[in-house]
């Protein structure tokens, strides 16, 4: 005995409700494929290794309790000090347009 279509559709509707799928008996293109896709953003965004705890972070956290020595930073300061003493330090920052003119007075 053939089963009536309406009954089959009812069955399908119930099935879709129970298994949480889309009831689409006409086979329309509803783009549900895209809703089913997983978001891959988090996986892609975690490709590069992130920066771990640095000495600066430690210093910031334990400003009161511990005196943490950042050797690289101290070396850098020392180098700058030596350069300045030899008169080879970086030039002073020019704040105004007036100061930044390179050859003042020469060109007119």
């Amino acid at each position: 005995m053939p089963v009536p279509r309406a009954r089959l559709l009812d069955l399908m509707r119930v099935q879709c409700r129970i298994f949480n799928s889309t009831f689409n008996p006409e086979g329309l293109r509803l783009g549900n494929k895209i809703l089913r896709q997983r978001l891959k953003g988090p996986a892609l965004a975690s490709y590069y290794p992130r920066k771990m705890g640095t000495i600066q972070d430690l210093q910031r956290v334990y400003t009161d309790e511990l005196d943490i020595f950042d050797e690289e930073e101290e070396d850098r300061f020392e180098k700058i000090k030596i350069l300045k003493a030899r008169g080879k330090g970086a030039p002073k920052k020019k704040r105004t347009a007036e100061e930044s003119k390179k050859f003042k007075g020469k060109k007119k």
């Binding site: 329309l28 293109r29 509803l30 783009g31 494929k33 895209i34 809703l35 896709q37 978001l39 891959k40 953003g41 988090p42 892609l44 965004a45 490709y47 590069y48 290794p49 992130r50 920066k51 771990m52």
Partner: protein, 113 residues
Amino acid sequence: MSMFRAKRLDLGCFVNVKVIRDHTKRKVFAEHEPERQALRYIIRNLSLPARTRAQAQLQLAQMHCYTRPTQIRNRCIEGGKGRGVLRDFKMTRYNFRMNALAGSIPGVKKAAW
């Protein structure tokens, strides 16, 4: 693009401008992925009015290029190179060889069979 770039550098690998750029693109894509997928869904859903779908198409096309997944390229975490990167180790073939020979990649040995 500078508006997307993080204010503080949060990378722990080799850093050059290309790596920073790629990293920024990844983060921007992750942020905008739901929106992109929503627009894609609207475009592909034939039960919606044609004008809505056309509007969605326009909007998707107008989104910033950094939100596109096709802009993302795997780069070497050791040297920032964009070509010849082994996906398993996120390294270029030469960096992989150097690390493998030094024994710093667990389990990888020279093979002979």
